[in-house]
Amino acid sequence: MTIYDIVFYLFALVTILSAYLVVTARNIVYSAFSLLFTLFGIAGLYALLGADFVAVVQLIIYVGGILILMIFGVMLTNKITNVQIKTGAWQVLPATVGVGIFGGFLLAVLLNTNWLNLNVTDSPATTFQLGQLLMNEWVLPFELLGIVLLIALLGAASIARK
């Protein structure tokens, strides 16, 4: 039982618990904050997996961008006369059953598959490597992503306008 394991379990617990709260909380704002903690947990998991750049990017974009956007959405789409902002859930039973079985299935698949080659590849600095990849092999998706972001920007702006 190394530190690594303990830290992992910690982060995993945080993530899962937060995710559970996200899903079951009645108050949207509680959900949103739980999502925050979930994202943090995930970032921690990234770090444990040696993907430092990705972890940071996750924090910046996800937490700093997307989550804020969501909170904006929450604020804009509710008549917030009170801070409670209650929401409900429905068809819980069929969903539980279905999703449960599905999850179980996934786990079964996961456990029964012969994953190929569990070699651990560790690397000190990933940023350089990622930059290298981006500019050489993955330059097209990189550029396209830029265009996608542009389009998303334009689209969102035009949709949300008037």
């Binding site: 068809q91 069929p94 969903a95 279905g98 299935f105």
Partner: protein, 698 residues
């Protein structure tokens, strides 16, 4: 003239009156004088018949001349053989004598009618009808086969119908015509049945052919019984046509027709056709059949004679007299007196026609009065009519020196001979009593009509002698009623040419076992040959006939005289009061006066029976048949109602429930379309799960 020429002549004689009928009928619609065509034709026909008679009896007296042609040839029919229907003409002595009689009386009636029917609105048509009648009668006389006879038999019936119902506006006349035709048809049924039996047995219709076949031993259905039956069936036709018992009821009613018609048809010729027919088929009548025929003839002689005693209509008396005399002829044939039967046929034709025409003369001058109770004393006003009537009555009564005496005497002799040969005394008894009655009623008629004082002064004053065309026939016919024309000996017909040379009894074809015992042939006995020229049937018979001759003569003359005496006592000298006598024997009187209630009986039994039956059938049809039909209609309706309920309930229910079920399922499945994406996602997950579990590999 050659035989062929005689045949041609007879064909011309046959078809001349038909030509007269057609011409007069069509010309009569336009021209007033069309009747002269008919009269001219009849006179020509008469002259030709005289020629025929002369030639036949002079040159061919022993032979029968026949000619035939094939009318319908059916060829060979399976199971039956060949069927060929031949028609033809047979001229034997009987035929030529008969045709002479027919044409003579027809001519005389034509001439009489010219004055009698003057002013009638269908004058020309009357003569046309007389023409078709003469044609039909000639056909009966000339025919050589039963089928042709049947054809002309029916034609004669038709002509009689047309002529009886000539004044059809009178209901009684049209009824009488119908009655005559229908009653005749009843007799014709039997005749036709007999003809059919003959044809199926012998495959030929001709008389000679049938006689030869029977003589050869070929009997219908191979039994003598059926030969008798056939003979009697054929005789049925004669019963109808000659108004014998029980089909005599039409003749008195037939007096509704004009009097010349009664003279021609119902006295002299048509009713004689029945007797003529029996004369023709005589060879195939067995002894039993002849006995039945004789009995019917005897009854038919007796009953009308009793009725005639009380009748008051001139024509009725004469009509019943005709029936009675025909009965005589039939009875004569039945007991075997063939020759005398035919002889009486001829003599009766003449004097009965004379009597009828005489009565026509009286009726005409009394302005269509027919009831003798309203007449009287006419002999002073109508002397010629009176004398001719008297002569004819004497002939009818059988007073010596008349032709009637000879023929009636012969018949009575025949009955006595029959008695002596078979011991059956019925026929002479009837024969002689009828002779007495005949004399009585005829002279009653004469006394009441011509003697005494007139009952109706007015009519008497207007009465006058009839014109020449009406008188002349009377004279002619009464002249023919004298013995002179038939035999030189007024008391013995045998020595005359008629019986000894011209008319002979035919050879009998019936097997010997079925004949009268006296008709069985034997070799001629020498002793008889000297006395008679011809042996009739057998020695036995000839001998018997010869021996009864004189007693008959005396007895019949006596009875006739007695009858006349009684008549005078009752009506002329008023020694006995007929009315008181009638009151004393009221039931008998009523029986006689009401014609023995035959008409009433037939009406109730046959007509009433048929009507009742038809009523029953109508009830049956209405109630039961219609009931069944309606019932089945109701059943159908009920079934259809049931079917509709079934259709509405079950079938529609089925359809509706299917639709409802479909709708229900649809409603159920509609719930899937919630419009909510999350529902769809859940469904997708579940489907995915199912697929995964189906295709999992672990």
């Amino acid at each position: 003239m050659s035989q062929e020429a005689l045949i041609n002549l007879s064909v011309i004689i046959l078809f001349l009156p038909l030509l007269g009928f057609v011409l007069t009928l069509f010309a009569g619609m336009k021209f007033k004088w069309a009747y002269l065509i008919e009269n001219a034709i009849i006179v020509i026909g008469f002259l030709l018949s005289v020629v025929l008679l002369y030639n036949k009896l002079s040159y061919y007296v022993e032979t029968n001349i026949t000619a035939e042609f094939s009318w319908i040839n059916f060829g060979v029919i399976p199971f039956f053989g060949e069927i060929v229907v031949k028609l033809g003409i047979m001229l034997d002595n009987v035929a030529v004598i008969m045709i002479f009689t027919v044409f003579l009386i027809s001519m005389v009636v034509h001439l009489f009618s010219i004055d009698y029917m003057k002013g009638d609105k269908r004058y020309n048509r009357y003569f046309a009808y007389l023409g078709i009648f003469t044609f039909s009668m000639s056909g009966i006389v000339f025919t050589h086969n039963v089928l042709m006879m049947y054809i002309f038999w029916e034609l004669v019936g038709l002509s009689s119908y047309l002529l009886i119902g000539f004044w059809f506006e009178k209901k009684s006349a049209s009824d009488a015509a119908k009655k005559a035709f229908i009653v005749n048809r009843i007799g014709d049924l039997g005749m036709f049945a007999g003809i059919l039996i003959l044809f199926t047995t012998y495959r030929t219709f001709s008389f000679q052919g049938i006689f030869d076949a029977v003589a050869a031993g070929h009997l219908p259905f191979n039994s003598e019984f059926w030969l008798t039956v056939t003979g009697l069936l054929l005789f049925c036709g004669a019963i109808g046509k000659s108004a014998q018992f029980p089909l005599h009821v039409w003749l008195p009613d037939a007096m509704e027709g004009p009097t010349p018609v009664s003279a021609l048809i119902h006295a002299a010729t048509m009713v004689a056709a029945g007797v003529y027919f029996v004369v023709r088929i005589f060879p195939i009548l067995s002894g039993d059949a002849l006995l039945v025929i004789a009995i019917i003839g005897a009854i038919s002689a007796f009953i009308p004679a009793t009725i005639a005693l009380t009748q008051n209509d001139i024509k009725r008396v004469l009509a019943y007299s005709t029936v009675s005399q025909l009965g005589y002829m039939i009875m004569a044939l039945g007991v075997g007196a063939y020759v005398f039967a035919f002889f009486h046929l001829i003599t009766h034709a003449f004097f009965k026609a004379c009597l009828f025409l005489g009565s026509g003369s009286v009726i005409h001058s009394m302005h269509h009065e027919q009831d003798i109770q309203n007449m009287g004393g006419l002999r002073k006003k109508m002397p010629i009519t009176y004398i001719t009537f008297l002569v004819a009555s004497l002939a009818l009564s059988g007073i010596p020196f008349t032709s009637g005496f000879l023929s009636k005497d012969g018949i009575l002799a025949g009955t006595l001979a029959f008695t002596s040969l078979t011991g059956n005394w019925f026929f002479p008894l009837i024969g002689f009593s009828v002779a007495l009655l005949t004399a009585f009623y005829m002279f009653r008629l004469i006394i009441l009509t011509f003697h005494g004082n007139p009952k109706n002064k007015e009519k008497y004053d207007h009465a006058h002698e009839s014109p020449f065309l009406m008188i002349m026939p009377l004279v002619l016919l009464s002249g023919l009623s004298i013995f002179l024309w038939y035999t030189p000996n007024p008391f013995n017909a045998d020595s005359g040419w008629v019986l000894s040379k011209w008319v002979k009894a035919p050879a009998i074809s019936v097997p010997e076992s079925a004949r009268y015992s006296f008709m069985v042939e034997e070799p001629k006995d020498e002793s008889i040959i000297n006395q008679v020229e011809e042996v009739t049937f057998s020695n036995e018979y000839t001998h018997a006939m010869h021996s009864v001759h004189v007693p008959t003569m005396i007895l019949s003359a006596l009875l006739a005289g007695l009858g006349i005496l009684f008549a005078f006592m009752f009506y002329q000298w008023k020694k006995i009061d007929p009315d008181k006598l009638a009151a004393k024997v009221k039931p008998l009187y009523n029986l006689s006066y009401n014609k023995w209630y035959f008409d009433e009986f037939y009406n109730t039994v046959f007509v009433g029976g048929v009507l009742a039956f038809s009523n029953f059938l109508r009830w049956f049809d209405n109630t039961i048949i219609d009931g069944i039909v309606n019932g089945s209609a109701s059943v159908t309706r009920g079934i259809s109602r049931l079917s509709r309920k079934f259709d509405d309930g079950v079938v529609d229910g089925l359809v509706n429930s299917t639709a409802y079920f479909s709708g229900f399922v649809g409603l159920l499945f509609r719930k899937f379309q919630t419009g909510k994406v999350q529902t769809y996602i859940v469904l997708v997950i579940f489907s995915l799960l199912i697929l995964l579990f189906l295709f999992k590999s672990f």
